[in-house]
Amino acid sequence: MYDGSKIIVGLLVFVGMMTFPFWNNIGKAAYKTPELKLPPKSVATECVEGKEFMREKHMQLLNDWRDEAVRNGERLYVSQANHKQYQISLQNSCMKCHDNKEEFCDKCHNSASVSPYCWDCHIAPPKKGN
């Protein structure tokens, strides 16, 4: 092998860098699902869909809501869980109950390192100061 030592050193550096996230996290606390602050029972007892569905699929639901409302003019959503009708609106429906963005949206998003751009346009409720 020509330049064998150089190649091996190069390979080692490469493998080391590729696996950096793994050995960097060794010994650190395991990932914990953040504790979200849900709206008090006096405000709402149920969401537009079940908890599991919302946790898993709220992003798809919001995507579909957006297209249905903005593009197809269908601005009401019939819940498949409780069959009630809800107005499709991030600002006027979702965040009327979930009025604490920092304790609800941000907690998970920060922990999962995602930064959706919803609030570049949509106005979040005023900060709760906690």
Binding site: E68, R71, G73, R75, Y77, A81, I88, C121
Partner: protein, 255 residues
Amino acid sequence: MDTSRRKFLTYAGVSVLGLAAMPAVDAWASDTPYVVSSKQLKATRWAMVVDTTKLNSEADFAPLIEACHSIHNVPDIPTKQNIKWIWYDERERVFPDDENPYMAEAFEHKNYLLLCNHCFEPPCVRVCPTKATFKREDGIVMMDFHRCIGCRYCMAGCPYGARSFNFMDPRLHLDAAKENKEFPTRTKGVVEKCNFCYERLADGKLPACVEASKGALIFGDLDDPKSEVRKVLKERYSIRRKPSIGTQPNVYYLI
């Protein structure tokens, strides 16, 4: 429950069409979780008639502009990069083709209301590469701010200068305390314009400027012969901006 169910049903519906299984498909299709509100004001061709005889001084225009810009969180940026949904200007700028050096004095420097014409043949919709701007079934030329890539082709395409681009974050020029919390702002890098208050129509309300105009603006369905817009257009002389370029504006000016 799956929200993609509706899409699946659409495809399924199309594929069984050939089997003449329509009744069954109809029954499924009504299962969609999305509904149009019963309050929605409906039309097939929304139009606005501007009674220019009732809009003369700045005091006549200001409440209309304020009504629109405040509820839609339209910033006022004191540069050439301003955002406008509804505004006014002098006759020679609003109707530049109507060249006339001996125009009657009362009209020579008269101001006219300006907003998106919601053209029947909108060039902006024709040029948009992502369908971010599109024509709804009721004739409103809509903006989907989520989809706009900010290429500004629609601004080059619009012959009426009705479109504005967010060169910067509009919130820099909005007072957070005065924002309408029920309507979004925009983000930097997208194009915006008048949307004929689609959000108010969905709620059974007329556009904000119409409501604030004390009868100077008439709003209705051009396809409905009994509508107020048709009645008034039948009785009085009206003009449209740049009729020669075939865009067929749906905003009419009563002279």
